[in-house]
């Protein structure tokens, strides 16, 4: 049983270290979003405060209009249901209030008849049935009136239509509504009419009328509890703003912000203070410290704000204010980006380049916030001083004062009253422990394995995986273990398209070590339990071969046991009339594996240099082989592991960025070796047919070298040939001028339409 657990653990860890973390959700493009860590749990401050969604809108919660609409509609439906003592399903109310006008007309008709009759569908709606049964005329008439107002005040379903505002019709509705208002009995319905009328006047652009309606209608309504008071207030604020009464408008928007979740974002967007004078005047309008604190909270919530001074002001005015904890959470989240693991975050360069993180003045911000947090925790005037002490410890950790952070964590471990706070403390302590790891040895690796295997927090907080991997990768790199560092993030597959010598050599050294640590065993073992050493040697062989070190490459391939050297699946020595990368070659001809190709190449080189009478033949075969082994030949995969069909035209280099391969995809565009052999053919050949062929291959190499160069200019359309510069036409012209009498030339003329163009 224990061995089963061991194997399972082993696979678990292998899976952890072998899953490439940088795989994006799609196949590209590469997205340069900020990438860092966060261990502060925003749920700690989600204590039922109505402001939570606004301040912790890390996901742009309210910025989506669709969501904002749905919040508003939901609040309205809840209120309708409350008016009727919660007697109905909200869906039933929704079908009537936000449904088709015909439904309301049907309800009206049914309520007017002595014998009530609703259609089958509406009769199943208990809200509709109630309106008919109890002849709720005021409500039905109001719903109809609201439907008539709707086209003038709401957005059309088609965004291109725009609001269908007709000021004349809107005024007519206002007069009609006011006439009805005066006869109403229900205060709830009166309030709703007042809302409709003030909104109509506001949107019709008659701001004086909107303010006048507010002043005249509201005193006629007995106090009722309703979300509509704030909705009406928002329209009054809008009318004031448009009338130039900016300060009064800002004050009213701050009240709406404070009181109305459904209008909070809209009020925040409309709240505008132009200068110090307006700010002071707005402060003077405030009736309480709570209202003043709200103004500071709104200012602190602006994008790119530096909220500590406003937090201090809120603390001085209203230390128990809900918004303080929310602003604290928001600011800690920002500071985490600047300071948490920035030394070893593997995306730190991109974060600096694309996001300018860490921010220039982040240290000053951190010090500022820490000082305030220490004060708030000490004075205990805030709602939960223990949360502020916990934040103090974490901020000290972010300041890299690890000792002081640890001391604070020790101080508070017995005073944290809730499990949630205790868990957050445990998370911070684990973060601290991981940060403290340096000079990683076998014992420390074992500890880390234990964290991965046994610590529940590791599983609960996915950030730990990234955090540990980045930290270990950094420490390994510092210790000169590029291979181990690489394996913390990537699979072996991901390095194959562009092998890096320091990584491969480090991994080979570890893999060949007879007494490996357990962690090293994991790093050098495949998912199926086999060791990766053969793969590593294969990669190293290909890497050396590409560097022109063919003998060293062959030596490396030969270190792989014969049975593991790979099946014979290449033959670069076959000549094809047309260049064809993906042509299928019959299995009977595929008689070489990688070392086999190299051995045959060495054999051909030996023969070319010793059997002078046939040198040209051997050089020709070598040229052919190196062409076929390049990016452009059917045996490309002997000298490369990955090829993209897109990576050739106008290439600035032969290495191409790729979402999965950390070092990109290096393509084997180099045809210099092939060319050098074909040039040798021209030097030694007495056979004019062979020389003609070699010249033609040289011309092909020139053409491909040009189109892969950065100087390549695309033809105007795919039907046109590229305009080949003179230096790339030499061999075409040579073939025409020097080998016109050969059979091969005749074949070229017949088969290659483009030849004539370039030979000119």
């Amino acid at each position: 049983m224990s061995s089963v657990i061991k194997i399972f653990s082993l696979f678990l860890i292998i899976a952890i270290v072998s899953i490439p973390n940088q795989i994006s959700k799609g196949c590209g493009p590469i997205i340069y979003e900020f990438k860092g860590f966060s261990f502060f749990d925003a749920d700690l401050v989600r204590t039922g405060s109505p402001f939570t969604d606004f301040f912790l809108r890390f996901d742009d919660f309210y910025h989506s209009y669709a969501i904002a609409d749905s919040v508003r509609n939901q609040s309205n439906l809840e209120e309708w249901n409350n008016i009727f003592c919660g007697a109905f399903y909200e869906k039933e109310i929704q079908d009537i209030v936000y449904g088709n006008i015909e439904n309301i007309k049907a309800i009206q008709r049914a309520s007017e008849k002595k014998k009530n009759k609703l259609g089958l569908r509406l009769s199943r709606n208990s809200f509709a049935k109630h309106l008919v049964d109890y002849k709720c005329t005021e409500t039905i008439d109001y719903l109809l009136f609201a439907k008539n107002c709707e086209p003038h005040v709401t957005h059309s379903i088609n965004a291109w239509d725009g609001p269908k505002r007709d000021p004349v019709a809107m005024k007519a509705l206002i007069y009609e509504g006011e006439r009805v208002f005066l006869k109403l009995k229900s205060n709830n319905i009166k309030l709703r009419y007042a809302y409709q009328l003030i909104r109509l006047a506001h949107y019709a652009g008659d701001y004086d009328m909107a303010l006048d309606l507010y002043d005249r209608l509201l005193p006629r309504i007995d106090p009722v509890e309703s979300i509509l008071h704030d909705w009406i207030l928002a329209h009054k604020a809008g009318a004031l703003l448009r009338s130039g009464q900016r300060v009064e408008a800002a004050y009213l928007f701050s009240l709406v912000f404070d009181r109305s979740p459904s209008k909070r974002e809209a009020a925040f967007q409309s709240f505008s203070i132009r200068n110090e004078k307006e700010w002071k005047a707005c402060m003077l309008l405030c009736q309480s410290n709570h209202e003043r604190a709200t103004l500071h909270a709104m200012r602190a919530s602006e994008d790119h704000s530096k909220p500590v001074n406003d937090m201090r002001a809120i603390y001085a005015l209203d230390p128990q204010n809900d918004n303080l904890e929310l602003l604290l959470a928001k600011e800690i989240k920002e500071l985490e980006k600047d300071f948490l693991g920035t030394e070893f975050n593997r995306h730190r360069k991109d974060n600096v380049e694309f996001h300018k993180i860490p921010r220039k003045q982040a240290t000053a911000n951190l010090i500022d916030l820490t000082q305030f947090v220490i004060k708030a925790g000490k004075e205990k005037k805030v709602r939960r001083p223990e949360l502020w002490r916990l934040a103090e410890g974490y901020l000290l950790y972010l300041s890299n004062d690890l000792y002081a952070a640890d001391q604070v964590f020790k101080d508070i471990e017995k005073i944290l009253p809730t499990e949630k706070l205790q868990e957050q403390l445990a998370v911070f302590r684990l973060v601290l422990k991981i940060t403290n790891y340096q000079d990683i040895d076998e014992a420390k690796e074992q500890e880390i394995v234990q964290i991965i295997k046994k610590n529940d927090l590791y599983e609960k907080y996915p950030e730990f995986e990234k955090f540990i991997n980045d930290k270990l990768a950094y420490e390994y790199l510092q210790a000169g273990h590029a291979g181990k560092a690489y394996r913390m993030h990537h699979t072996l597959e991901a390095i194959k398209p562009n092998p890096q010598v320091n990584i491969i050599n480090d991994l080979i050294e570890i893999a060949l070590e007879p007494e490996k640590s357990r962690f090293d065993k994991i790093l050098t073992t495949n998912k199926d339990g086999t060791e990766i050493i053969d793969d590593l040697l294969d990669i190293k062989g290909v890497m050396l071969w590409n560097k022109g070190e063919a003998a060293a490459a062959l030596e490396t391939f030969k270190q792989i046991p014969v049975a593991q050297r790979g099946a014979n699946r290449f033959n670069p020595f076959i000549e094809r009339a047309k260049i064809c990368v993906h042509c299928i070659q019959p299995d009977s001809l595929l008689i070489y594996n990688r070392p086999g190709i190299l051995e045959h190449i060495f054999e051909l080189e030996f023969q070319a240099n010793s059997d002078y009478s046939n040198s040209a033949k051997y050089f020709y075969q070598l040229g052919l082989a190196y062409f076929n082994l390049s990016y452009f030949g059917p045996s490309w995969n002997a000298m490369d592991f990955f090829r993209s069909g897109n990576n050739w035209r106008s290439a600035k280099s032969d290495t191409f960025e790729h979402w999965y391969f950390p070092f990109g995809n290096k393509e084997n565009h180099d045809l210099s070796k092939a060319k050098s052999y074909f040039e040798k053919v021209l030097e030694v050949s007495k056979d004019r047919e062979r020389s003609a062929r070699a010249t033609f291959w040289l011309a092909r190499c020139d053409w491909l070298s040009y189109v892969t160069s950065s100087g390549y200019k695309r033809p105007p359309s795919s039907n046109h040939l590229p305009d080949l510069p003179p230096e790339y036409r030499i061999h075409y012209q040579q073939l025409a001028s020097d080998y016109a009498e050969t059979d091969f030339y005749e074949w070229v003329i017949r088969e290659c339409d483009y030849f004539q163009v370039y030979a000119r």
Binding site: A159, W160, I273, N275, D303, K306, K356, R359, K360, Q361
Partner: protein, 346 residues
């Protein structure tokens, strides 16, 4: 004999008249605000400059993530009755619109856009409209969709006997083979926003004759006839913690004169000394502001570069953009001076 003398003078008169018309560019302005309500002073300014054409931004188009379709935003509200005789409806479309939209949805998009413009046009029945302009800084990835959009729109406008024009950035002028030539009747070369706005070290992101000179060379043969758009605006570029975070439009040096709040470190570069409000933005102590405007001298140098780079007849010289501050800062004589530079060329 007397008749032939008359005939000679008539011919001379018309030929001279034609010469003036074809060499001196017509002056026009962009209007880029949400509401157009020309003050008497602005109207007078336009009259003095004999401006007959206004490029009026009707609305912008952006990609709506919720709806997954392009939507119009910031539609213009026309309160003025004293508009110039000719209006060119101008639409700014974000590049991301063309990155996101599917090719199949371009036709309905054109249809919607066209109807929307017609609807706004109805509010200004007295003005003449013979051209429509699309402003979009397209990229390699959005090019195919954008060009297809233009092609479709152009065909639709052709039936209405209207011409389609597009804005062209300097890099698009310099590298037409890389960026492509938009399928439109003509282009408006935008000679502004040339520098890197995001970098604090940038001298002037609006217009810098050293930068424009790297894009312009004599007798550039762009495949579309080009009008010229020049900047007459100013702004403050606000940096916080080294990052550019906001543009403060039409900011004046006088507004940064109070040394209690602002310290001018070097010319046109300020550090906020004490947190305060400015144009509705709350600034924090330590924020940096780069004040940018276009001097008449720079305008003249760039105009000299342009007249040799884009020699053309029947050109329009469009100034971006029209508002009361422009009227105050770039008086009649300055604008006329620029016009004369282009007029001298042929």
């Amino acid at each position: 004999m007397r008749l032939s003398i008359y005939f000679f003078f008539i011919v001379c008169f018309f030929s001279c008249e034609k010469n003036v018309d074809s060499t001196t560019p017509e002056i026009a302005f962009y209007h880029w605000k949400n509401e157009i309500n020309l003050t008497p002073a602005t109207s007078q300014y336009l009259q003095d400059l004999e401006v007959q054409k206004l490029y009026l931004r009707f609305f912008d188009v952006d990609w709506d993530v919720d709806r997954q379709e392009p939507v119009p935003v910031s539609e213009i509200n026309i309160s003025s009755s004293n508009l110039p005789t000719t209006i060119v409806p101008t639409i700014f479309i974000t590049n991301r619109t063309f990155l996101e939209i599917k090719k199949n949805d371009i036709l309905p998009f054109v249809e919607n856009l066209f109807l929307k413009i017609q609807k706004i046009q109805k509010n200004i029945p007295s003005v003449h409209i013979s051209e429509m302009q699309i402003d979009c800084d397209w990229s390699q990835k959005s090019r195919e969709n954008y060009f297809y959009f233009l092609e479709t729109l152009k065909n639709k406008l052709k039936k209405d006997r209207k011409e389609l024009s597009v804005t062209i950035r300097l890099h698009q002028l310099k590298y037409p083979e890389k960026t492509g030539i938009p399928p439109a009747g003509r282009g408006a070369l935008m000679c502004y926003n040339v520098g890197d706005l995001q970098k604090w070290g940038t001298k002037n992101s609006i217009l810098d004759d050293k930068i424009t000179s790297t894009y312009l060379k004599n007798n550039m043969h762009y495949p579309l006839p080009l009008d010229i758009a020049l900047p007459v605006f100013q702004w403050g570029v606000l940096f916080r913690d080294g990052e550019m975070i906001k543009l403060i439009n039409q900011l004046n040096p006088s507004e940064l004169a109070d040394q209690k709040f602002y310290n001018e470190k070097t010319t046109n570069r300020y550090i906020v000394q004490q947190s305060t409000y400015l144009h509705g933005h709350y600034l924090y102590s330590g924020d940096q502001i780069r004040l940018e405007s276009v001097s008449p001298r720079t305008l003249e140098i760039v105009s000299q570069q342009l007249k040799y780079a884009i020699p053309s007849s029947n050109q329009t010289l469009i100034f971006y953009h029209l508002d009361s501050l422009t009227v105050a800062k770039y008086p009649f004589t300055e604008i006329k001076k620029i016009q004369r530079i282009f007029g001298d060329v042929n």
